[in-house]
Amino acid sequence: MVKKVIYGNHAVSYGARDARAEVIAAYPITPQTQVVELLSEFCASGELKAKFIKVESEHSAMAACVGASAAGARAFTATSSQGLALMHEMLHWASNARHPIVMANINRAMGPPWNIWTDQNDSISQRDTGWLQFYCSTNQEVYDTTLMTFKICENDKVLLPGMLVLDAFVLSHTSEVVDMPLQEEIDEFLPPYRAKYKLDLDDPRAFGGLMFPDWYYELKYKQHTSMEEALDVIEKVGKEFGDRFGRYYGLVEEYRIEEAEIVLIVSGTIAQTSKEAVDILRKEGMKIGLVRMRTFRPFPKEKIRKIASKVNKMIVIDRNISFGSEGAFFTETKACLYNEKDRPMIFGVIIGLGGRDVTVEDIMKIAKKGKEGKFKVNEINWWGVKL
């Protein structure tokens, strides 16, 4: 076991190294660059025996990962913001072709205007590409999730690509303590990837051919059911990880929700800061708890329903916006509760776009306003907008 103070970006690099990624193809973009810099050093020194492919764009990076995964390799890449957007076509390809590629996306706002700081609009915009999405809130979780995502995605029941997401600067360039297990222990947790179907000269197969309407539909059904099956796989892998390494992960993290009347639904680093707010409010006597959303795709509907059945109010805090609609986590949370008998009142709050700092005070004020029922219900609530 090694315990080190490292950047969130390097937690990704160490994670990919310790997962023994076999092919890495990436194109640099702020704030992701350090991820790839360290990985290229690992490859150059031989510390990681992977093929490092330099490419001319993110679209090509994902294309190279698709090729590598089709050949049966464990493929990894990392990107951010506009880079992720440029990959869009190939993201569909990776999922539709059932390649368990793992990618780290550093959550950075979309331009213009140029902004290199954090919000989730880049990853949320890839919601329907068929990638699993995990939102991290500490550098330790970034490292752990890199390892777990390979294991989840490569599971026979899943065989889909997965994206782990971390906030620009608040994690990517922040140094925190990260505990990394021994390589032998990781190898036991994550054995080499053995692709069931791959490009093989001795056993030739066709990939990505034409499929007529008579069966395309069934493949989409399978892709969806695999995503649903991933819910169980994520929980099992999170439990196994905990049993082995002492840190347990699930679809969501429940924080002080016992006897809570009101819960905050939050993801990313804001959730971490919100824990402080919850602690203070609990001391003041407010029955409040927090649900940190680790998984966005597949969406943990049952978890949300269970939690919702016990509370009066929910406040969904989104660091993203679907223009003309609302925050993505807000939409999903409401949608999965529509047919429930006892639904709590739900408010949606948009906050922190483009890296605006979100403080404990912000969260406390939001919680209090929500408790008093002073938010608009059928519209989104913009927090701290100066207009």
Binding site: V5, T30, D167, F169, V170, L171, S175, E176, V177, V360
Partner: protein, 186 residues
């Protein structure tokens, strides 16, 4: 309740190593059993432009992911910043300021803040860190921090320099040690 979290803000100019200083201090505090965080204010450090970085440490795990608005102490790597920005903004009452300057501490006045000075530029040049026109003063000033604030030992800072400084590790350790020796604590 005893306050255990301790927060530091660093002011420097791009290229002086303010962000690295925050990281080294975090690494040193981690070596003494603390949970730590170090981060730049915005992450676009252009050479010569004012930059700021933060360091947060606690005996308990740190959940906070916000910037630091009310630091317990402030480290100023470049004295010319004093005329440009309010380096004391938000400093807690009774907080400490460590300034890289050849002047005496008594020549500075920042309300009730306790001021310490260290000629980190001279020490950095002496140990061949950076160039004469662009000395890298971050390790020297951390030595002064260790003596002035007293919550991270000079030994831990030397170890952290060994881990986090890519070149001239020994010279950097010596610069930190020298600054530690000449800084007067309370």
């Amino acid at each position: 309740m005893e306050k255990e979290m301790y927060e530091v803000r660093f002011h420097g100019r791009g290229g002086q190593g303010a962000v690295t200083a925050a990281t080294i201090l975090a690494d040193a505090a981690f070596r003494e059993g603390k949970d730590v965080q170090a981060f730049p204010i915005f992450g676009v450090e252009r050479r010569g432009a004012p930059v700021a970085a933060f360091m947060r440490m606690d005996t308990k795990p740190i959940d906070l992911k916000t910037q630091i608005y009310e630091p317990d102490s402030i480290v100023v790597l470049d004295p010319t910043l004093l005329d440009v920005i309010d380096v004391t903004k938000g400093l807690k009452e009774g907080g400490k300021i460590i300034i890289n300057s050849s002047k005496k501490a008594s020549e500075f006045k920042f309300g009730k803040a306790k001021v310490y000075t260290i000629d980190a530029t001279k020490i950095a040049v002496k140990h061949g860190l950076g160039t004469k026109t662009n000395p890298i003063v971050n390790t020297a000033i951390l030595g002064a921090y260790s003596k002035a604030v007293g919550n991270v030992s000079i030994e831990a800072i030397e170890e952290a320099i060994g881990e986090k400084v890519p070149r001239k590790k020994e010279e950097n350790k010596k610069a930190a040690r020298e600054a530690y020796e000449v800084t007067r604590g309370e």
